[in-house]
Symmetry: C2
Subunit: 318 residues, 2 copies
Amino acid sequence: MKVPTKLVSAFRSRSAFLLAAHINPDGDSLGSCLALAEGLESLGKKVLIYSREGAPEFYRFMPGHKKIKSGIGKMPDKDTLLVLLDCNSPERAGLERQPCNASAVIDHHETESLFGDIRWIDRGAAATGLMVFHLLRALKIVVTKSMAVNLYTAMAVDTGSFRYSNTSPDVLRVAAELVEAGASPGMIAEHLYERWGKNRFDLLNLSLGTLEIRDRIAVMYITRDMFLKTGTAEADTENFANVPRTLDIVRISVLVREVDEGLWKVSMRSKGQANVAKIAEAHGGGGHRNAAGFKIKADFLSVIKTIFSEGGKVLAIK
Amino acid sequence: MKVPTKLVSAFRSRSAFLLAAHINPDGDSLGSCLALAEGLESLGKKVLIYSREGAPEFYRFMPGHKKIKSGIGKMPDKDTLLVLLDCNSPERAGLERQPCNASAVIDHHETESLFGDIRWIDRGAAATGLMVFHLLRALKIVVTKSMAVNLYTAMAVDTGSFRYSNTSPDVLRVAAELVEAGASPGMIAEHLYERWGKNRFDLLNLSLGTLEIRDRIAVMYITRDMFLKTGTAEADTENFANVPRTLDIVRISVLVREVDEGLWKVSMRSKGQANVAKIAEAHGGGGHRNAAGFKIKADFLSVIKTIFSEGGKVLAIK
């Protein structure tokens, strides 16, 4: 993986950085921010990490997560470089305006904006965390145990712990180096997949009860009532959309949940060539070929109809 | 990983081999047999692969699986070397007698017998497939695409696709080499985790309905009626025992199913230090610290009582 020289120079020459994760941050976005921040701090730089929602509870096992701020305040320095990680527009980072005079983008998403003075977007990279690993190496920064845990988590989240087709030899070799640097695959997997509360388990069982499969598309939903009944919130639905993927006949698996009165959040997961990012983009959302999402304000039945219809079109593309 | 010189010499000097998987073979046992067989054949050796149950349907995506025989017949040669893979006694391989004059064992299980003229048992190895990879390298055999698929599957099965604590840097580096040799992580994961029939999904939902959690031990069961109702068989319960592990409070997750009138098969999965192999051994079964099983002929209620009581003892060990 080739790190742009301009990017390496910017990190070497500047003294202050604002690292921003995307809204509703996942492990890749947060792990990339945390590892890069620690690396830059080891070089004596000033760093601020911004995530609109702070660090979600689910990710509070990640070392240094307390450094993540949900507000920006005053910039430490006027030459601060804004670095968007795992996203490529200020909007996706939850920033209403560009708060710095200069900006860089490190991302691997399909959906792309033209933002950024220095842009490193590698759609072929499995995770932004993998790109950050190579950036740290280009900066000759030694990976500490906490950086290793953050980068391993970043890659694990975006490769389904090495189960998705984006699991490249580079991903596996970097993972090996991160384990040597102190990351524990068992501990990280336990945090990602085995820390469910009973109420979350009950919510999954309730939503499985709504499962409908039609023309290789599986749809299940969660209403506000179901959240209330189980004492859960939207963040508890992480990974639910993947569950119906276990079914042989399913090519696209969709989870729809009511995040506000009449406002639905749709998460789609697909197998093989079915590109669900296309559906997300058509509704102002985004993501990757096999994992994408969007929000839609409409009545429930028309949401479901839209999903089956647009999913069918995606599956028809050979 | 150091491959015993004596073992390498035996593979070099002998001309015929009987490779045997363990009964109810899993991907590690089958993948190890298939990759080693192909490697030996490339050296012009005669090889027979024996698995008492043949190749279960679930694993019929593994290249060369048709070579696996459920009977031995006449030995091709009187100097044939019996090689037990992923097990270490003729009984575990479903062999009533030792059919050859010489034997070797390649295994990584906790439960150990004294069988074998040449013994290579590495409890620290994540998978027998990993050991076979190093053996092939010691024999200077080039790993083909089909060997890579078989060995990657072997390691994926025994590391929960790199989620268990046995995921070492060596496992990840070998996995990287296997991907370079042609193994596809996405395709293999799809076969292992995403090829469920709807009836299997229904069976899981039924068994989740029986879930009982007491003192950090989760137990769920499947009766013969539940198999009948969903048109499923015992082989369809693969991985079910792992599901309640997702719960934060659960340290030991147990699946009990009725395989015959009053005969129960118990599969246990644990997190961290809880050694369920101890429970399995006490009942004539076996396995690893975090995954083990046994069969028991008893009435249902006493089986459940035994599990909670012996599970509690294992959890009490600090």
